[in-house]
Assembly symmetry: C2
Homo-oligomer: 214 residues x 2
């Protein structure tokens, strides 16, 4: 039995009290991975951005809004866990300033300076012990396989799941799973509920049951 | 029996294929107003941005993503309707350019120029015939009543509902309803499902059954 941390859903970076930067991540893949892990008898802790779906009641869920909040929660919880599945899509840019009042339209354009947010999986990857594992997710529109492998390297992950860009609009997904040597372990396609189970089976086989990580 | 157009939910303005500007509008108030209107025997057409909730099956629903798409659909459908309830929270800024590829992090800030989008209710308000009515919704953090009345005037609305900023995060809402002369018709508070019914009762009484609009 392993204790598994799952980051899930989007984060939001507010420009003013009403408007924010985000993405269409729904939390469905995180939910499906959590369900598969619980089904296999593991303990699951989810750190989730704002989503409408309901996570399995057996999971401990901590809700956050911003990327900094997600990182803070992840840094606190990861040392208690055997591994992390980083399926969240954290907002990786935030406005330099958040206006305290709703910005009123004036008829003129406004200029926004966006700063990069900290990388959650890269931060956890840099801190993991030899017994801990990390699974990253990548979504790229250009050179997807090359970029996924670069992310595996720079984020110090043990498996990388490459999502198709079409995934974020849909209940369906199409993924490739790479091990840390860049080998394609599987090419999977189907409803997110089923893919979560299949991806979790690979995590179970290659990481959770792998003596290197026990 | 009236044919009623309801705009509902948020819109999104994409910065690149993954990231967008939006707000936390859930479509719940739109759904609740639609249910009340259908219950009262009216025909309902909903133009909705991306939401997770399900609208009443008796409503005709047209889904859009951006503010320009919502405006285009509204301009097409409004001439067929007796009135419009503008409860959507359209994104009122859009990036000057949308990148065709996902923007990669470089370690440096990026600068974004945001242009104002067209105002949907103001556009419909400027085109409505003497027999058509328009209900606007406002959400303001500063000088809310003053700004709500200014919006009534500039958008040529017949009723204006002033939302509390706390509404967008929650299933609860707290609103004030003004008529076109600026009189407060009602101060309401409660779950969005119930408020939709109460607001719709005011629309029914002051607009749908009003001989000026028949």
């Amino acid at each position: 039995m392993a204790r598994i941390l799952i980051t899930s859903g989007p984060t939001r970076q507010y420009i003013d009290p009403v408007r924010f930067l985000s993405n269409a991540s729904s939390g469905r893949m995180g939910c499906s991975l959590a369900a598969a892990a619980i089904q296999a008898g593991h303990d699951v802790i989810i750190i989730s951005g704002p989503v409408e779906i309901e996570y399995p009641p057996q999971a401990q869920v901590e809700y956050v809004v911003t990327t900094d909040e997600m990182l803070q929660a992840a840094e606190k919880l990861f040392p208690l866990c055997h591994g992390v599945i980083g399926v969240a899509a954290p907002c990786d840019y935030k406005p330099q300033h958040t206006a305290t009042s709703k910005i009123s339209k004036t008829g003129h354009p406004i200029s926004l300076l966006l700063m990069e947010t900290p990388d959650i999986i890269a931060t956890l990857g840099s801190k993991k012990t030899p017994r801990q594992w990390a699974v990253g997710f990548a979504l790229e529109t250009d050179d997807p396989r090359f970029r996924a492998l670069r992310k595996m390297e720079t984020k110090n992950c043990d498996l990388m799941v490459l999502n198709s860009p079409s995934a974020i609009y849909s209940h369906q997904n199409e993924v490739e799973v790479f091990n840390s040597r860049g080998k394609i372990l599987a090419q999977l396609r189907g409803p997110k509920t089923e893919l979560g189970q299949q991806i979790f089976n690979l995590i179970e086989k290659h990481l959770i049951r792998n003596p290197d990580f026990q």
